[in-house]
Amino acid sequence: MSEDSKTPSVILENVSKWYGQVMGINDISLAIEGGVTGVLGPNGAGKSTLFKLLMGRIKPSQGSVKLFGIDPWSDTSPYRRIGYVSESERLYDWMTAQDFVSTLARLHGMTREEANARAEHVLDFVGLHDVRHKEIGKYSKGMRQRVKIAHALVHDPDLIILDEPLHGCDPIARTSIMNVIRELGRQGKTVLVSSHILEEIERITEQIVILHNGRLLALGNLYAIRDLLDKHPHRIMITTNEPRKLASAFISEEPVYGVRFPEDGKLEIQTNDLSAAHSVLPRVIVNSKVSVSRIDNPDDNLESLLGYLIGGA
């Protein structure tokens, strides 16, 4: 294995960025390699600052940013291996998607034939093959987002950075773009994707980076991070016609350390070991002979995790 292949695509070491008195990013260190990683956080968390640092748009006030082991501020060579979709970037509306993507392919040094063939392939990949000869100005928002993804993929990058790629898209376009992102992750590309829409990040990946007020709150697998939050027990919500009877059956089980009745017909079980609680669940329900109509894990999702981490829930 070469030295280059051992180096993670993205390395940030003690990176801070101040805008005057305002802290954009505060002492962040992380390394990302392979698969899809969701970058999450509320507005002002530092997601855009992080991407601008990665794209060499701003220089870190402190620390170092490395893409494939190279500082992108002083050397543009990593961009040969990076595809970037900006949130706000405008496109050349007078061009057709085919012309636009092939023109940008030539900015990477492809020949005309290579650029045209590659543009056709990536437009096909994002589902725009049939309309590739239509002017971009006539495209819907979702189609424009897909053109952005196509132009970011045209040179077959190893690292793809997508800043709010689902922003403003209709549900069909979102589904299509999410499929594209998942497929890129399956291909072994390193994909960094930011979004405010937590459910959609959940549908794309379990690997997340959570930022808040410029600080790195969490990094890793969504469920592994959730398990680390001991002070916030997991909750299992059971809808039943006899919640008190079911509660008395559950309370003696080891993984369960508390029960609540948040509203009529509902039982909330509190546990620190979600999988163990789920393993005893069927037996207890059957033995208690209570009718259960629904079982939920209301806080086993990204939104709850984000809430716990930033103290909003």
Binding site: S86, T103, G109, E114, N179
Partner: protein
Amino acid sequence: MSDEQINLDGGQTRMEAAYGSDDGDNDSSAIVAKKEASLGAIFEQNYRPWDGNLGPRWVRNYAIFRHHVFGLFTSKGHRHYNPFVRLTILVIFIGAISPIAMLFFSSLFGAGPDSFIDKMWGINRSNLWGQVLGYFPRNLCYWPLLTALVVGGMISDDRRNGTSAIYFSRPVTRVDYTLMKYLSVAVVLGFVIVFSYMAYYTLAIVFKGEGWGFLIDTLPMFLSGLLCSLLLVITYTSIGLALSSISQSRFFSAIAFLSIIYGTKLVALLIDLQFETSILYILSPYDCLAHLGQWLLGLELNYSHSLSLSVVSLIMMNVISIMILISRVSSLEVTRE
């Protein structure tokens, strides 16, 4: 109705078969869509890696250059120039080469060296200077308008639309970006100004059937004029691109360029008329070039101030313009710094 008539293996339901039937008057059986008919489609997202080699720096830079220059001829895959802009550039180019037509007529009529046509359009010091630096119509109408139209949106469009991010998220340095924009403008201006000058000189020799002696006599003058035309292209490109880089509007950069060229000239002219001093012409890019051109071509100088002041002013204009250009491009897409 038999199973062959409704082929369930083909994915057709009985309801769909019923929808496919006619009114039933002639035939009691349903007409079933063919087995291969499609009622929907699932798109496979099959990403195919690319294993080619990306080209070197000069190939990428050439892509930027051709994007801007070829856009004058076709917008397909290139920068968009308004058809009116293209038409105006064509008219200016035709205007710039119009003396060639007069020389052609002169050669047809066999006009002598002292004829009116030859004095007006033949090869001599004044006409070589005038082909590049003559005030009317070239420096009053043609060259400033041409520059304003070409540089107008060259960087300001990127600034307004954020399309410079398209370049800077690729292995294109800001130096490459600036150089290629500069070269693109200079080549378009050069094609109209320098090429028309060279064509004028070359075709004058051809049409008049001049020999080597004439060529040797006039070549130094021609080269002086050529140097003037290159300096004019460089100066106008520098000023125009600097203005384009500080604005987000192609109109502002175009009108600001015209204001600088015409405004400085007008102010200097008024001061000259009122106080009989030409010193303020050092503020006018055109007059600095005209002054230098007169000296290079051995013409009588129209300006009372020292030539060195015009040369220094010209250098300063270019240096300041390029510094502004570099500074503004350095800050492009670099946010809140």
